[in-house]
């Protein structure tokens, strides 16, 4: 918007992300908020590095999370292992297609979209944002909102493992894929938390000032 509006950083102020108080910035970047005691930083510390680290780890683990089985079902007759996708297929073929869609979206689409979106945000900040700051901020807000829903399959697994322990109809045990999947969910949440959306606007401000001359 208006080019003459100041950010807190430009005005020499440190905003507290916990309680919202603005403090005057001293020379050090590691002060504590005088009202709530939380650590104050101009921007989230090592935001891009941390976000990339968590993101890359999540992307690597996304492969075993989807390829390896997340649970094994044993009955007197046979035993069978299920991946996330075969769980969705089971729901679909047993006629619960609305739930099949929900699980597919929460377990497969959401993590993938989250990782791609985080990558978009990170690359945008690295390359310098000229337009679309608002859309990128909205994308970030969306990420914060949907990330938790990927835990769905972990809860389903936990409930099945708890309930299905009877000899008459078998036993459900978790398999290694579940661990990888849980790690993907946690890592993408951590990556989202590490990313500082204010960097999008900082980058746009830099482009606005210096970008055109170079």
């Amino acid at each position: 918007m208006s080019a003459n509006a100041l950010t807190a950083a430009e005005a020499g102020l440190l905003p507290c992300l916990t309680c919202g108080l603005l403090s005057r910035r001293t020379h050090a970047d590691a002060a504590a908020c005088p009202r709530c005691g939380a650590r104050l930083h101009l921007r989230k510390p090592a935001s891009l590095l941390r976000a990339w680290t968590f993101l890359v780890a999540a992307m690597i683990l996304y492969i075993p999370a989807n390829v390896l089985p997340i649970m094994e079902t044993e009955s007197i007759f046979d035993s069978q292992s299920d991946t996330i996708l075969s769980g969705v297929v089971f729901l679909w073929t047993s006629g619960s297609w609305p739930l099949a869609i929900i699980v597919f979206v929460a377990s497969i689409t959401v993590p993938l979209l989250k990782m791609l979106s985080l990558m978009t945000l990170l690359i945008a900040v690295h390359r310098g944002v000229r337009k679309h700051c608002y859309d990128l901020t909205r994308l970030y807000r969306l990420l914060e909102l949907i990330g938790r829903w990927s835990m769905l399959d972990i809860y389903v697994l936990a409930i099945l493992v708890t309930l299905v322990q009877l000899r008459v109809f078998g036993k459900v045990t978790p398999a290694p894929g579940a661990l990888a999947f849980g790690a993907v969910v946690v890592l993408t949440i951590l990556a989202t938390m590490s990313f500082d959306p204010r960097l999008i606007w900082d980058s746009a401000r830099r482009e606005e000032r210096y970008g055109r001359t170079t």
């Binding site: 102020l13 009202r35 047993s94 608002y134 708890t162 008459v168």
Partner: protein
């Protein structure tokens, strides 16, 4: 002078807090993120939501959620029991801990901290650990996932329907209410108003 201005948490723009009419919220004039909601001096509403949620949460933790029955044998699951069942499996300790953390510990912490703050303020004194409680609330917020667990419960029931008889437990009936009350309590909890009470004390 500094207190007359606020900085947007998502784009850092410094701005004067816009005055609020009824049923409106203040948004950043650059990135439109939510700056704050109107301050409600009356804390009875968030207190009522929080206490209802806390009661339902205790019930949801004590009683079984669902049971499974086949040929005279049966099993039941409680909220903590599901985390425990995972924890006891080989190599699944971390996953069990994650389930416990997101469905029991974090919601429990949130409800305890909110009850502590709101009850203290309601009886007219500023709680001693106000800053700590508000910081904990802020820190754990992304990790409370009761609503996701409830959806997971629904899916599990559908998956087991054909295999055995699913017996609803007492706690199952509280989950619908718990879902709404936790959401209402968190939405109506106004940390900004409580911080300004803290300012008055100084």
């Amino acid at each position: 002078m500094d207190q007359a201005l606020i900085a947007c948490h998502e784009c850092d723009l410094l701005q004067r807090p816009p005055p609020l009419g009824a049923d409106t919220v203040a948004r950043c004039r650059r990135c439109l993120s939510l700056l704050y909601r109107p301050t409600d001096e009356n804390i009875d509403r968030p207190l009522a939501f929080t206490l209802s949620a806390a009661i339902l949460f205790v019930i949801a933790n004590i009683f079984p959620i669902v049971g499974l029955e086949l040929q005279g044998q049966n099993t039941t699951a409680t909220l903590i029991g599901t985390a425990q069942a995972l924890y006891q499996q080989q190599d699944m300790k971390l996953l069990g801990a994650l389930v416990f953390f997101t469905t029991v510990l974090v919601p429990g912490l949130q409800l305890t901290a909110m009850s502590y703050l709101l009850i203290s303020l309601r009886i007219g004194h500023i709680p001693r650990m106000l800053a700590l409680a508000l910081r904990v609330l802020q820190a754990v917020r992304p990790w409370g996932m009761v609503e996701v667990f409830i959806l997971g419960l629904l899916i599990s029931i559908v998956k087991l329907r054909g295999v055995a008889t699913v017996v609803p437990g007492i706690a199952l009936w509280t989950f619908g209410g718990l879902l709404m009350m936790i959401a209402a309590a968190i939405a109506s909890f106004d940390a900004r108003a409580i911080w300004s009470k803290q300012d008055l004390r100084r």
